[in-house]
């Protein structure tokens, strides 16, 4: 038995062959998973943050992404486990007693794409959704319906029917999951947005297509070691706070950008949401650096912004989606992890901006 205290569902933001929910050119399973997890780990009110003691992942991730996940989420004390067994083991985990906070992540990105993040805790909470499991008859009423953890989670966390609880029977598993609504849970809004439903996924729909990474490396060169050195700034917008002079440096470097002190710097997480646009340009096809050729071929022009995230920090961020100079100086934006550019045969990731308060899907 477990209580889901916070949950988020994120779908691909592209518009491909299968309609809404496809991956956009700058998305993949890793970015979807991180976007969902950030919604439960870093909600608007920082006091709600609970550090999970374990992170479990269902679904296929790009090479190396599982190892990168703790850094992307800022949960570096936990090694995430990739779970085998698909929806059956996901259901069993939900039915098990859970002594402490766990982060359960699941993604499906083979056709159109969706990811869910569930932050669970022990039973006996006052809010959230309590999930319990019991042996039951093998029921085959909807074969194929629960073929992914994403769809199972989506169904369990739907607003309950009038009798107050929801039950799902898993074919082959002799397991019935019951969800009982204790009260609202963080991230609930992504379950009440009809367009967020992953049930409309078209299995095997043509994805956006991938470039041949071995052919796209001609461009500016940022060695992998240098890229990795700056990941806390690049992925989580982590600045450095100088205890000597009190100023912030961004990106965080080995010395304070104001006073030069190297001894008294401490990580300072910048807000990931609510930045203010100070300058905007639309980069038209042909004016992009060659590293962005793939993106421009698929998505056309894009906007780049200078965003004020803190009185002492502004950052250069690309806006997701196709640019149409739709962003305006003074508008607010949030940030999300996205693919930026391919180099050395792999995608590099970083944060991009999205209009503030955009619905989850």
């Amino acid at each position: 038995m477990a209580t889901v205290r916070a949950a988020a569902l994120v779908r691909g933001h592209g518009r491909g062959a299968s309609g809404a929910g496809d991956l956009a050119p700058d998305e993949d399973a890793f970015t979807l998973l991180v976007e969902a997890a950030e919604r439960v780990l870093r909600p608007e009110a920082p006091s709600e943050v609970t550090a999970p003691v374990s992170v479990s992942v269902w679904g296929a991730l790009p090479p190396g992404a599982l190892e990168e996940l703790p850094l992307a989420l800022g949960v570096t004390s936990v090694a995430p486990r990739l779970e085998a067994g698909g929806v059956a083991t996901f259901a069993e985990r939900l039915a098990e007693p859970q002594p402490a906070a766990q982060l359960l992540l699941a993604v499906e990105a083979s056709g159109s794409a969706a990811a869910v993040a569930l932050l669970t805790g022990p039973a006996g909470e006052e809010s959230g959704v309590e999930i319990s499991g019991a042996d039951g008859p093998e029921v085959f009423e909807a074969p194929g319906k629960w073929d992914s953890p994403v769809r199972l989670a989506w169904t369990l966390l739907q607003p309950p029917p009038p009798d107050g609880s929801r039950a799902v029977s898993l074919p082959g598993a002799r397991l019935v999951l019951r969800a009982r609504r204790l009260g609202p849970f963080a991230g609930e809004e992504s379950w009440t947005n009809p367009s967020a439903s992953p049930e409309g996924n078209v299995p095997g729909a043509v994805p956006v297509g991938e470039p041949d990474l071995s052919t796209v490396s001609e461009g500016a060169y940022l060695p992998a070691a240098t890229y990795r050195e700056n990941l806390p700034s690049r992925w989580r917008l982590e600045a450095a706070h100088c205890r000597k002079c009190g100023k912030l440096s961004f990106p965080a470097r080995s010395a304070c950008s104001s006073c030069g002190s190297m001894q008294e710097l401490e990580p300072f997480p910048l807000p990931l949401r609510g930045g203010i646009i100070e300058a905007v340009t639309t980069v038209r096809p042909g004016a992009q650096p060659s590293e962005f050729d793939f993106q421009v071929q698929r998505g056309g022009a894009y906007d780049v912004l200078l965003v004020r995230l803190h009185p002492e920090v502004r950052v250069t961020l690309q806006l997701t989606g196709s640019g149409a100079a739709s962003a305006r100086i003074g508008d607010r934006v949030d940030t999300v992890l996205r693919r930026l550019y391919p180099m050395e045969g792999a995608w590099r990731y970083g944060r991009k901006a999205v209009p503030s308060g955009r619905s989850p899907s």
Binding site: A220, T226, V283, I329
Partner: protein
Amino acid sequence: MPSEQAAVIGAGHTRFGALAEGPRALLRECVDLAVTSVDRGLERTEVDEAYLGTLGFNGWQIGNASAVLAEEARLVGAPVTRVENACASAGFALRAGIQAIESGQRSMVLVVGLEKMTDAASRRRRYWLGVSGDTEWERLAGLTFAGVYGLLASRHMHEYGTPPEALAEVAVKNHAHALKNPKAQFRKAIRREEVLAAPRVADPLGLLDCCPVTDGAAALLLTSVARARRYTDTPVRVVGSGAASDRLAVQERESLTSLAASRRAAAEAFRSSPWDRSALSFAEVHDCFTIAELIALEDLGLVPAGGAAAMTLAGETRVGGRLPVNPDGGLKAKGHPIGATGASQAYEVFLQLRGQAGERQIPGAARALTHNVGGSGASATVTLFEAG
């Protein structure tokens, strides 16, 4: 105070444009032209130091390009140093030459700026066009320099109400000036409506707001004022020289509407000058994009912040106006071979202050300024010149 004052006694300049000549031929030509421009002649053996400003576009001879200048200038044996500060490479090479003379350590210095940009495939060229900004945070967020200056333009418009017409007027004026410069890349008048209607590159900048890709080279010969009279009756004296740096990435700078490196360089140059801005006959400023000329006018103190648009729209910066700016056509119309531009600006000063600028001569030109910016303002030089 320097023990000597520097003076320019000779200058040479290739045509600017998409040229058939390679980098070696361009170096040879501009140096030969500079040597033959010395009124009473010069033996090359008198040159005791040389500086080459070049980015090394397309990866051409990234290391030791200085040795190629030594060969083509027939100076093998003399010390030659390559100076690289992106688009301000030749401005900083000129500064090094001035300092070598002012210190009394050298008696005759050759300063050359060079870039060969049109000989590579466009994909490779797009790589090189963005290598001088911040790589990790600007370029790899999707920006080349057009995008960076597009951001600055959007902010300038937002803070000062700078209209698109003022940007367009910079291009119109500089194209009109280039009509009278036989060495300019574009000798074609354009209308304001054409600039405004041109395809967008990085909003609010369009194709005609951007300088072109250019091949070319320029050379200067510097000696001390005391020695200059042996070579010419009309040297061009260097009366002020300033340079400065700034943070590489725009996101880390204080202002989005002003380049601190330009402001600092101008302040240093005018500190040692016997005259101030009001005495200028004209200015050569770094107009890699139209917005850059407006920002330069404000940073150099030629107009208060936010006033460059009105000054430009009133025609004050045209030849014939109160303070002509870029009489040679500027980077916009004369062309911008990255490492050559700082030397090319000083070449125009050399002609104007000696009354040799032909059709575009500014009557009575006696005092001038050159302003050379690296990238989006990570480096800048300002140099002040006076006739005689």
